[in-house]
């Protein structure tokens, strides 16, 4: 079995290359948006970060399913790390989204942006994941709880999305149009590179965190063997 750590430098190099390429493309290649001007450039990182967060939550839920279904030994840890990454990228989504809202519409937060509101709900949900995990002692029960809760999250994503869509009928009239900008070919290419960059960044951070946790476990084993 090839050690997962052997892939880590290659993954990090890929992330480095893609993020550098993405940033260069955003500032030197992508055309300036006619309506929003320079602040549109935030979109190139904000949306990929949001999509990456969803990908992390999805990956975490997949690992959770593997834990419950196939009883894979490492699945619980991988699920936890993936959801941890998702929360980090989720927080970054909310921060960059707030800055974008401020730049576009002059407010730090708007309830009319369905994506931001959905993210806030999910962010709260997955923060509670950590509260759940820290209040139960480590063991198979905690792994089961975490896995089931992660699966709840995946069900919550479409249900919340629908709820927020329905809520916009009676909460606020839609004052701001939150439709994404119409993308020309160059813009779309830049966007795709940014998406790949964020995904590879998340994968790298994921692998780094997993590696750290595995080291912790190994050291504990060693300590018990020597003591």
């Amino acid at each position: 079995m090839s050690s997962p750590n052997s892939r880590l430098p290659a993954l990090a190099a890929l992330a480095l290359g893609l993020v550098a390429a993405a940033t260069a493309l955003v500032f030197f290649f992508a055309p300036l948006d006619a309506d929003q001007g320079l602040s549109q450039k935030i979109f190139y990182f904000h949306v990929p970060i949001a999509l990456t967060a969803y990908a992390c939550f999805g990956w975490g839920a997949w690992k959770a399913l593997l834990h419950l279904w196939k009883r894979e030994p490492s699945a619980d840890l991988e699920s936890y790390v993936a959801i941890h990454q998702g929360v980090i990228f989720g927080a970054l989504t909310l921060l960059t989204g707030s800055i974008w809202a401020r730049a576009s519409w002059g407010v730090w937060w708007t309830w009319s942006s369905n994506q931001l509101v959905l993210f806030l709900v999910l962010f709260l949900f997955y923060c509670a994941y950590f509260m759940l995990r820290f209040s139960v002692d480590p063991g198979p029960q905690r792994a089961n709880f975490s896995a089931v809760y992660a699966l709840f999250g995946v069900a919550l994503i479409p249900v919340s999305f629908l709820a927020i869509r329905l809520a916009s009928d009676f909460i606020h009239p839609t004052v701001f149009t939150s439709a994404g900008p119409q993308m020309s070919g160059n813009m779309f290419f830049t966007f795709c590179v940014c998406l790949a960059a964020m995904l590879s960044l998340a994968a790298t951070l994921n692998a780094v965190e997993l590696s750290g946790k595995r080291l912790d476990a190994r050291l504990r084993e060693l300590r018990e063997a020597l003591a």
Partner: protein
């Protein structure tokens, strides 16, 4: 069918326990009335009826949380849950029975709370009542499931609201929408969808919550 018999037996146990202890139901009743009074003082003059309608759902949600917080306490304290798990019944029956018990308690409380709300604030129409019924199903299904998980941990009174509230947001949307919007049919449909989706998930995965 022995499944329904198991569920019935377990639910009856919860009713009998409550009948003897008589602590959860009176507490929920007093809590919901007190909450409605607080809402009267929390709404400035000139607030619309719509605002008070929204607050009805807040009252229901937090009263349910109160009842849910206590729902697995007897099991955990007496070590009964291990015994139930060892019994040759489908584990999801434990969840279903407990949900039905909490549903019954919540329903009894709402029999008092809804008229009180109509008296204190504004009247409620049939759509609202239908929404309350549908929302109760979702609240009890999801809430009981989460209460079982929270009761296994350390800070269980703190944990249950944290786990429950994000999942309850769609219920609030559905409920308030049905109460407030003139043609609330699609909100009722949404509540039914929520109930179906999460009841199935809860039923299918309760096994993993109580076993290892």
């Amino acid at each position: 069918m022995s499944y329904t018999r198991d569920v019935g037996a377990l639910a009856r146990k919860d009713f009998l326990l409550e009948l003897r202890a008589r602590d959860t139901l009176p507490a929920m009743l007093i809590f919901v009335i007190a909450t409605l009074v607080v809402f009267h003082f929390a709404l400035p003059a000139g607030s619309s009826d719509l605002a008070s309608n929204g607050l009805l759902w807040v009252a229901i949600l937090f009263t349910a949380l109160l009842g849910l917080g206590r729902s697995f306490v007897p099991e955990r304290e007496g070590g009964v849950l291990d015994g139930l798990v060892l019994a040759p019944c489908d584990r999801s029956a434990i969840w279903l029975a407990k949900s039905l018990a909490v549903l019954a308690f919540l329903g009894l409380v709402e029999l008092v709370a809804l008229p009180a709300f109509a008296i204190f604030f504004s009247g409620i129409d049939g759509t609202t009542i239908a929404a309350v019924v549908l929302a109760d199903l979702g609240i009890c299904a999801v809430g009981t499931f989460l209460a079982a998980m929270a009761s296994a941990g350390r800070a269980r009174e703190l944990l249950l609201p944290l786990l429950f509230l994000p999942l309850a947001i769609p219920i609030v949307v559905g409920g308030v929408g049905a109460s407030v919007v003139t043609n609330g049919g699609r909100y009722l449909a949404f509540l039914a969808l929520y109930d179906a989706v999460f009841a199935i998930i809860c039923w299918a995965s309760f096994e993993y919550v109580v076993t290892e």
